[in-house]
Symmetry: C2
Subunit: 225 residues, 2 copies
Amino acid sequence: MKLQLQIKMNEGLFLRNPENTELGRNIIKHSIQLIAQYGFEEFTFKKLADDIGTTESGIYRYFENKHLLLIYIIAWYWCWLEYQIIFQTNNIIDPVVKLKKVINLLATTVEDDESTSYVNESLLHQIIISEGSKAYLTKQVAEDNKHQFFKPYKELCAVLGNIILECSPKYKYPRSLATTVIEMAHFQNFFMNNLPSLTDFGHNKNESNIVLFLNDLVFSTIKNA
Amino acid sequence: MKLQLQIKMNEGLFLRNPENTELGRNIIKHSIQLIAQYGFEEFTFKKLADDIGTTESGIYRYFENKHLLLIYIIAWYWCWLEYQIIFQTNNIIDPVVKLKKVINLLATTVEDDESTSYVNESLLHQIIISEGSKAYLTKQVAEDNKHQFFKPYKELCAVLGNIILECSPKYKYPRSLATTVIEMAHFQNFFMNNLPSLTDFGHNKNESNIVLFLNDLVFSTIKNA
DNA sequence: TTATTTATGATAGCGTTACTATCTTTTTAT
DNA sequence: ATAAAAAGATAGTAACGCTATCATAAATAA
């Protein structure tokens, strides 16, 4: 008997819950594969339908458009990651150790989680790096925000911000530092692999360097508060 | 007699140099207005052509596609900003003062520069904030990078990285800190205005807070090296 | 000045994308 | 066994991304 991890998603993101049917789960699974393969701009519902072996209309019964599908899988990732963080930092008393653990989880390639059968977290992590910010860098951001589509991301930032405050109660910018760490965990990774001269890790493309950079950044900053 | 600022752009970005003709300059001017208005996804060459009072084919004679046009105006901005930075930090000896000046320039709304007649820098700054990262967050990033389309951005990062090193010669991550400052100058601005709970400036949406945050971040970090 | 590039305008067309609609068949629940 | 729900099949439409062609106007060279 294996535990299955179920994540309750915002109902406004879909027309029909993809977790409940074979086709729905296939949509999630294959869209993660195809977005990772083609990038979001070149990804279409037609390609997705062909890949699954269904038709476009089948996809549209689950998701209104590809933007909402992107937000869905990204929100799913943030939910899953928050769970990982809560789980893996549970019972750690020292907030500094906790914070280091979180930075590690954010900046290190995730392995596929067996308890989520149709989601490949490793591919999803790649999508977060390359496409993550496209979820909110749009003209509909206010609208999407009203529907609470970014709640999982905000919650994760809040969790991280609180750990920062635990480490350094007087630090004045815990939320902004949290978003900085989260975004930079991904941007430095993207730069390292694609525009290496923008980083200090180009010669030795190793994620552990990003962790070192972020640790130095965060702990120097909050120590100074 | 007024000085006109001319920026020499990478020739691979366009089919015909937009700076040389009335139509070309109109393409730049109106595309800045329309991208700021619609956002990049909803921006099309058809809308641009209608706005100018020309036809799609007219646009295509200058730019292969809207992605290259976006890269063009973004690269233009980085060139212009680097010039501003070089100019405004010239003769400043103290690297700490210099660095503060640069952070200010990065994180503060720019006013329209009179010496560039057909470019509205203020609108362009808004585009950088919302669309800037879409220039490189694509599957063609390697290809585009080979053509040196990101050279202006890289140069700016190098300039900033060198000032950081001047302040703190032993600091180990000058480039990554430079990209962090540049990206966060924009992301914190976007968050402050659109997803305020992700920042510590939601109640008082003032850019000067972002400057304070970035100053604290940078100087704490490099002091610690 | 005429001849000739060069830039622009006008129109057409083609394949794809994003999306809606309808109708049939299959699966599932009662 | 029957009703309801989900999926498959097919069609269609407006917009988008892009190419091609031909005519005309403006700039420039002979």
